[in-house]
Symmetry: C2
């Protein structure tokens, strides 16, 4: 890494591509772009560029490749693994797509929407709704995250169970390669077997193989029926059994099955304004069940009734409530979506974004809790997430002590140690250490440790084939010697 | 291409890896492996090897890379673009996976099945049924095609509308790389964002980047309700309108929507034993509609009733029949699936496997017919296929003449000329020249012509990064200088 950074003359050449009005150079202007949400990474950069077209992005990357200038692409800056953050002590130039935020086209007959890489997710959702269609990608940061980032990280979210990850929601891409060449892969086809799957190589590459400047996204019919229920349960094992029944009963109409622990509900009730416990008694675990049907509202209604009846009869459900209005549905989802935020007032939180085969969720939960408590007595495990996808946000709040603030740094200092414990159990179960957040900087070294040498070598060969100058988001995902 | 071929000593070294009992060397034994179903390609090869394990495949490819010996992988030999056929006049060794045909594991709770690359598709379907699950991939050759080939060609088939291509049905792969290294990517996870998407790069690469020796496949709940209907229509435009209604009404319960022309029905009734026209009067076009529901049989029944009612009321349907038994359902599907075979007694057939955005199907059909008839008066267009996927098998039977046999060669001789006409219209509509069959040898040169230089260059970079010795299925998909 050249820590001296680009010369002023070179910076001016970059600035000239987008015009000085669309460049940030002052430390105070740059500051919000140098940190990510959790405060785990703080980078440095001499300049942020805001191109307004694929041609400007192309010119930037061409100059960067010619001059060996490292580039970090940034969209909504909501990533959770430091993938969008410039390197600490480095001089990466930031390329922000915030001005490339258009919806280029919406075709409700073909069920496709074409958007700029910098289009905000919520704007894409709204554009789909405007033509009576659904773009199902939905996550906490949807008001600020942008499609190029969602694609580059293959974002997950709350609708994966029925609709898949972002990867499954994309038909085509426009990508500027590290050399500045433009790949126009903006295809709108459901079926196209013509050569290697370049699209899926760029999706999830976290901006290390190029910058996604445009995408063709899939739209779906708006559901007609929608039901949301919350069930109190005894254990993750019962939650899994209930999930199996739900899956058999509802098929693809099962659009969400989220698992939450009692402590998570307590955190949310305690710290999130306006939230109250929807059930009269506390329960060890909770399942949030979301059902959407396309034929009629009655189908969703009868499905949720049947499922809860089956669950009660089988002794799987202790108590349950069905949301009786859209407001109540939103309130139940709000509890789930606030669970991360609700942990903040409880002190430090060591986080994991893991997945295991769904049938192994109960064993994983038991083994991980035992191991974590053995290493850190008093730690408060707040493990919740997308049970139906096998994806658990295995978060651990610090033990309760007199001096919460003073102990936070010491607690967070054990992040990697605790990660190693939890990830060891995940890997033994054939799981993933990053189910939906990606690798970025946070898990780069760990990835190289857990993957076979041949797999890492294949990734390096691809990286070098696509980015021979090594300028695209260096230091992320895969290290090039 | 070294047409002298490998020396006998080298062939013996290859044979020693699998044992002489598992080698074919005689011309008569080799013959069925040197041609593909349509008879468009006939290759040559001195030897076919039948490894029984991933280690044997690894040893073969290691020796091949070290000695520069070209290898063509072959599974069911049912491909339609010459991808599995050794090169004409060449000396490629054939590696057949027919002995690697095991179902390794079935887990109905996690909804996964692990199979060898040589497992026959029908055996995979049966293994899923045995645990009350569905493996939805379904195509005409399912009794002989094998999973490794289905994955390598990203096979489509009749269930794509609801379940996606083979790509969407795979969670993980085991691949032997051209160097003989083994990539163990047999993951069972729905969510796993850990580095570049190698899986999807091997899927659809038609055996040019390695040999798929194992796969983790997704299973689904068996549908509870199933309805099949055939509707007589006036035009592809009406078929599209009916498809839109079906899609809105049924959502993901719409598991098939196939378009067929009158001439196709006539061919099938004339040439396929036991088939009779299910409707009392002829109609210009037909839609085969398949609905599967997971909640109850009644849902499917009410969906198909509502759809046909809507279609009649809107003037989209001329006449229709709902299959009243499983046997009738199979009979309706048999008509559709026999349409290719039924063309054979009608003389030569020039074929296309194209897709366009679904909203452009009617325009495409009209423009293509006009252009084909202008170039070849009297040609009989028999265009049918997966309307819901935008995928049409645009087949053209030769004109009726006194001397059908004599004219067949001349007719087939115009294959590339007619391809160019149809593909020109497809490409102008943003379509694909190979929706589900792949590139192989048949469309390799055309691919290089229609794709941008940068896209071809990216594919070549990947090919060279993965197969530096250039031994894996050379001459297919992408030509390396």
């Amino acid at each position: 890494m050249d820590i001296s950074g680009p010369k002023p003359e070179l910076l001016d050449r970059f600035a000239a591509i987008v015009g000085e009005n669309h460049v940030l150079r002052d430390a105070s202007d740059l500051a919000p772009h140098l940190v990510e949400g959790r405060g785990l990474y703080k980078g440095s950069s001499p300049m942020l560029l805001k191109p307004c077209s694929v041609e400007e992005v192309s010119a930037i990357l061409k100059l960067a490749s010619e001059t060996g200038t490292p580039i970090v692409p940034q969209t909504g800056n909501t990533g959770l693994v430091g993938g969008q953050t410039p390197r600490t002590g480095g001089s990466d130039l930031i390329v922000s797509l915030e001005r490339m935020n258009r919806i280029r086209d919406v075709d409700p007959v073909a069920n496709v929407l074409v958007a700029d890489g910098g289009a905000i997710l919520a704007d894409v959702q709204k554009a789909a709704e405007a033509v009576d269609r659904l773009f199902p990608l939905s996550l906490g940061s949807e008001g600020s995250c942008r499609i190029g980032g969602n694609l580059s990280t293959n974002a997950g979210g709350t609708a994966v169970l029925a609709y898949g990850n972002t990867r499954q929601l994309c038909l085509g891409l426009e990508v500027v390669l590290p050399t500045g060449e433009i790949w126009d892969g903006l295809r709108r086809l459901k079926k196209d077997n013509t050569g290697y799957d370049l699209r899926d190589l760029f999706i999830g590459a976290e901006g290390t193989l190029g910058i996604i400047t445009g995408a063709v996204l899939k739209l779906f019919p708006q559901p007609v029926g929608h039901q949301v229920a919350l069930a109190g349960l005894n254990s993750p094992a019962d939650a899994l059994k209930l999930f199996e029944r739900a899956s058999n009963l509802c098929g693809t109409a099962l659009t969400g099955f989220e698992l939450m622990p009692r402590i998570g509900i307590e955190f949310v009730v305690r710290h999130i304004e306006g939230v109250r416990d929807p059930l009269s008694e506390p329960h060890p675990w909770y399942a949030l069940i979301d059902i959407s049907t396309s034929d009629s509202a009655e189908t969703a209604s009868s499905m949720v009734q049947s499922l809860l009846e089956q669950g009660f009869e089988a002794g799987l459900i202790r108590d349950a409530v069905i949301a009786s209005s859209v407001a109540q549905q939103k309130a139940l989802w709000h509890m789930r979506e606030s669970m991360s935020d609700a942990q903040k007032p409880e002190g430090g939180s060591i986080k994991h974004d893991v997945s295991v085969p769904v049938s192994k969720i109960p064993t994983f939960m038991a083994e991980a809790e035992q191991a974590v408590l053995a290493a850190m007595p008093g730690a408060r495990v707040c493990a919740f997430g997308h049970l139906g996808d096998g994806n658990i946000h295995y978060n651990i709040s610090q033990p309760i002590n007199a001096d919460m603030a003073g102990d936070k740094a010491a607690f967070i200092g054990r992040w990697r140690e605790i990660n190693a414990i939890v990830h060891g159990i995940v890997l033994a179960a054939g799981g993933s250490i990053s189910a939906e957040h990606g690798i970025g900087q946070l898990k780069r070294d760990e990835l190289a440790h857990i993957r076979s040498p041949i797999e890492m070598d294949l990734m390096r060969r691809i990286k070098q084939a696509f980015d021979p100058a090594g300028i695209m988001n260096p230091g992320k995902v895969v290290a090039i010697p």
